[in-house]
């Protein structure tokens, strides 16, 4: 399996030794060695076909397979990179926050529920499951916040990166909330998390 390693907080190295790693298209800034790049679909099975899923998530998630021997340097928009290990569990992630992942991991599209009409985000979110490493993008170093029955969590959707564990996500749309987000920008709703798990956020709004 290809090895992911941080060269710096904003640059990811994928070491390939005749094998494959997967990343979002456009993420490669340089490479050394003999590497080929090929577009790939979202994958996943059950229910919707891959082509339908691609249409539904829109252009937000375009993946490519990188194969060969050498090192690929990946970066995106000077954002910080955070490596997350999955051990048989599932990560629900904003597709725009995904940078790269082991090819052994399964990606799928899940229905995320109805969002505010003014939202530019799709109705679907990306899930990654299995055993392996995922590289996430964060505008500013990522922060992990616990969710537990004693302390549910409310998050600005433009700062939300991913969640894992047994958490349920609901939308809050009360009027006083509108005032919190600038009049000209941002979502007209916020995300509330209940249950037990972890939510990853970035210290910035998209």
């Amino acid at each position: 399996m290809a090895r992911f390693q941080l060269k710096s907080s904003r640059v990811l190295q994928a070491h390939l030794a005749g094998d494959t790693a997967r990343a979002i298209t456009g993420a490669m800034v340089a490479y050394e060695g003999d590497i080929s790049f090929k577009s790939t679909g979202i994958g996943g099975s059950g229910g919707l076909g891959a082509a339908v899923k691609r249409r539904m998530t829109g252009e937000s998630l375009q993946l490519m397979d990188m194969k060969g021997s050498g090192v690929v340097y990946l970066a995106k928009g000077a954002m910080e990179i955070q490596l997350v290990q999955l051990a048989g569990d599932k990560l629900s992630v904003e597709s725009s926050s995904l940078l790269a992942l082991d090819t052994d991991l399964r990606t799928d599209v899940a229905f995320a529920g109805l969002r505010g009409a003014s939202s530019g985000q799709g109705l679907f979110t990306t899930t990654v499951s299995g055993n392996g490493t995922v590289a996430l993008l964060s505008d500013g170093p990522m922060i992990a916040l616990e969710v537990s029955p004693q302390y549910p969590l409310v998050v600005d959707p433009d700062a939300f990166i991913a969640h894992r564990g047994q958490v349920t996500q609901t939308f809050i749309t009360d009027i006083s909330w509108r005032n919190v987000i600038g009049e000209d920008s941002g979502e007209a709703f916020s995300l509330r998390f209940d249950g037990s798990g972890v939510v990853y956020i970035q210290p910035a709004e998209r």
Binding site: Q85, I143, D156, V180
Partner: protein
């Protein structure tokens, strides 16, 4: 880099940085916050627009800036709120019976024990009193001392020092005086015009901001158009068109 350890309301810092780009305030006191500052919170938090808050009377004594009032809310309740600003560096400062003037875009939140007024310099706000305020900057804030000249775009604020004057580079001034009377005041960079600080005190700087729109500056200019006659309005129109053309680069 290993994953960050998950934080919760008990392990989140109280009125301190979570990391260089995020700050956590405890709602055991009330805070003025810029809209959009809130990233996440635990507990029962209420964010009310200054006009709509139940504490309108109190707010009016503390927040004396009609130009910026619509960009701010009061945060109160119980719990912890994590704030951030475009991934910029966040730092808190304690004022003790002091005063500090800061660019509105760089002020993120402040304790309601402080008073806020509009500075004479457009785009800047002055804080008075004792209490904590939280600032955001593009890269860590750089502190320097007068005498010094600063590119207006790089200026974050100043404390305990007289307000600055404009300084125009002598070479530029000479060529400007030689130009035709109705040519545009084409000041484009900090080499030609700076903010001039003298005396004692502290100056705060950052790598210059991309001059994105400051809605408050736009509001201020709009409000002043009413005082102009046709000649003045046509002149503004001409200058605006030229600036727009120049910025298409």
């Amino acid at each position: 880099m290993t994953e960050p350890a998950p934080l919760n309301p008990y392990t989140l810092p109280t009125d301190d940085n979570v990391n260089p780009y995020a700050f956590c305030v405890d709602l055991s006191q009330q805070w003025f916050m810029r809209k959009g500052a809130m990233i996440a919170y635990y507990g029962q938090a209420k964010f009310e627009a200054l006009a709509a808050t139940s504490m309108a009377g109190f707010v009016a004594t503390r927040f004396s800036s009609p130009l910026y009032a619509m960009d701010w809310v009061v945060a109160q309740g119980q719990g912890k709120v994590v704030i951030g600003d475009r991934g910029h560096d966040i730092n808190s400062f304690d004022l003790e019976a002091g005063n500090l003037t800061i660019r509105a875009n760089n002020l993120l939140s402040f304790a309601t024990s402080l008073e806020l007024k509009q500075s004479i310099v457009p785009g800047f706000l002055t804080l008075y009193g004792t209490g904590k305020f939280i600032a955001s900057s593009n890269g860590p804030v750089i502190f320097a001392e007068p005498p010094m000249r600063v590119d207006p775009e790089a200026l974050v604020g100043w404390a305990d020092t007289p307000a600055p004057c404009h300084h125009f580079d002598a070479g530029w001034m000479q060529s400007f005086l030689g130009m035709a009377a109705n040519s545009m005041l084409g000041i484009n960079s900090g080499e030609e015009r700076q903010m001039d600080f003298v005396g004692e005190g502290t100056i705060l700087m950052q790598s210059s901001e991309i001059m994105s729109e400051d809605p408050a500056v736009v509001r201020m200019i709009e409000s002043q158009l009413g005082g102009l006659g046709t000649g003045g309005l046509q002149r503004i129109n001409h200058v605006t068109a030229q600036r727009l053309a120049a910025s298409q680069q």
